[in-house]
Symmetry: C2
Subunit: 381 residues, 2 copies
């Protein structure tokens, strides 16, 4: 039930969908036109009933499975989950993965050239919400001729999109698979996001978001944001068993160089991320997390009322060592679903990997996912 | 049993002790001479047996109780705990509070003028350890004519100093009061410290630690470090009940200004701190936390063996919502003490205030402290 089961989707070529119908965003700004880059794995069946949408999290993108080139060292970010014979089985499902609006991997975002000015949008790119993403994903479904998804699937921020689908387009989604997610951020979640944002916003190389024109990138801020993020993705115990107090050298240096291996790991992760990810996209993604709160407009943030429109069946999965979005947060969703007598399977999975567990191989987790997708297939796709 | 019980020590005048005997630090550097600023409350009794040392935590200092001027708005940082009729009762105890070596409140530290150059020590100030602090505190005790402390008391990093006293100078301490502390940092603790340090070290205004000469201060980095620190001092639940998802305005701005009250609170705390605290001292304090690990030199980090030298009695107190130094960490200390058949009282206190609870009024906490100090007094001080 782990990564050794199932094969690869092989080499894939990203595609681009162009949308020329204006999109009104939650913030009030209208985007006149935009592009979304996406990949597909497997074949859409004759009655177009086997399509599965993969929604990405904060730093994700459209390249979820397979390789871009035969000599690629790393496969797509969820290659362990998606492929022939894997839990999301591309021999049965037509899987679509996209880069969200505002992203930095090919979809229209802050680093895209604005055709009206010839310069990147930068600070002029509007903030987008989970609802906006789902609206834009619905238009992608239209272009692909998909009237209804067999399932919309995501972890973390991706799970929020799956949840939003059931409220924005209840007729267009049969199953929502919401992993390691939450119905809204807590004050602590927002606090961590704000520190990460302040690191970027106060980096002298940020230039109010228009750093592209200055030939610089706010790498210091982005690096700090990623280091901090990483701490919240891992569990205290997981970090303890992997790194503990192991030193990099034989003894302490008594200076500010790396002393402990955990420091080396975090700085490496921060440097790597700051080398390829767009800071404006990072800011925008964290804001989408903060704003997500579908229950807000209902009396006292009533999630049950917010989900009363939903018609889907649900798999809600959480990991016991995840302190970013703990199982309690998933149970809030489960309660709101059962309040509405909606079909829901809840899986609380033991793992030492914290929030990151949703990306990792784990026999129990993979068995839950495999069984749930077997069930979707058995319903007739 | 809370702040309304007991009075104030009134106006106090900080004093300065000069040490001209060289101090060899753990890092191998010798400090030829140094000053420590301190305050005292209450009267040393005839047989000099009623002295209590207060050790401060990361951002603390010598001004633990009373006022410096009659019109001061804020009293010392532990004024709720120390005073006539308070748990650490200055009618019975002679209380000494100092600013540690490396501090920025009057004791010799990185911002002190080096008499040899006429400029602040800056990057040339060595890193100090908890052991070094305890050594320097022992010399302060010598100057004050205190052969043995009735108690050494501290929360967090201060608790580590109290613990170290029992190992470095077992004959000179009768009671160690170790609150919200830990026998060593975890990988996660170190990770948070490293992000804070990287924020300061990579601030362009840091200038390798010699920012004084440039007429600037790395406020951006220090502000981020403090914002991050604050998240770890509060509990998720405490933050949730105080701030939740409350907005500052009536609706979302959809920009990077403050949206949520938690953001406003954190940025305010960060700005305030960056306005008065020295960045080099902050770095040095976090390193002292990282290095503290008295069990390290014993087989497989055996804390029981490290504490086999201790002769004191102990009060170990922890707070259930403290996720920085959770009760588990205090229980490790309790176990090592009971392994050595040392007298230990362990109190695990319910509080929503997280790590910061050690500074807050709480009836159960204050009752535990009061009873413990009553017992010390009853032993005859």
């Amino acid at each position: 039930m782990s990564q050794d089961k199932g094969g690869s989707v092989g080499c894939v070529v990203p595609q681009t969908a162009q949308f020329d119908q204006p999109l009104l965003l939650t913030c009030g700004v209208t985007v006149p036109r935009y592009q979304l880059v996406y990949e597909t794995y497997g074949e859409l069946n004759a009655d177009r009933s086997n399509a599965v949408l993969i929604c990405h999290a904060l730093s994700g993108h459209h390249h979820a499975a397979g390789l871009h080139h035969e000599d690629d060292k790393a496969a797509g970010w969820w290659d362990n989950m998606i492929g022939p014979g894997k839990p999301i089985d591309t021999e049965r499902f037509f899987v679509v993965a996209l880069n969200n609006l505002g992203g930095c991997h090919g979809s229209t975002g802050p680093s895209t050239i604005d055709p009206e000015t010839g310069n990147p949008f930068g600070s002029r790119f509007p903030l987008v919400t989970v609802k906006d993403w789902v609206d834009s994903q619905a238009r992608l479904a239209d272009q692909l001729g998909i009237a209804q998804w067999a399932a919309v699937v995501g972890g973390s921020l991706g799970g929020m999109q799956a949840l939003m689908w059931t409220m924005s387009f209840p007729e267009r989604i049969r199953h929502a698979v919401v992993i390691a997610s939450a119905p809204r951020l807590s004050a602590q979640n927002i606090a961590f996001n704000d520190v990460a944002r302040q690191a970027i916003l106060t980096d002298p190389d940020f230039h109010g978001g228009d750093y592209y024109a200055h030939g610089v990138v706010p790498t210091r801020g982005l690096r700090l944001a990623r280091m901090l993020g990483h701490i919240t993705y891992l569990s205290d115990d997981g970090m303890g068993s992997k790194f503990g107090r192991l030193l990099r050298g034989e003894r302490f240096n008594y200076n500010f160089d790396v002393e402990f291996q955990i420091e080396s790991y975090l700085r490496y992760q921060g440097d790597k991320f700051a080398g390829y990810f767009d800071a404006n996209t990072y800011l925008l993604m964290t804001k989408a997390l903060d704003y997500f709160d579908p229950a807000r407009r209902y009396g006292e943030g009533n999630l049950s009322r917010a989900l009363s429109r939903a018609k889907a069946s649900f798999l809600i999965a959480a990991f016991d060592s995840d302190w970013r979005f703990s199982p309690d947060r998933s149970r809030e969703i489960v309660k709101a679903l059962t309040d509405n007598r909606l079909p829901v399977t809840y899986a609380e999975i033991r793992s030492v990997h914290g929030h990151d567990a949703f990306l990792m191989d784990d026999p129990q987790y993979f068995a839950v996912m495999r069984r749930y997708f077997d069930r979707i297939a058995a319903e007739g796709v």
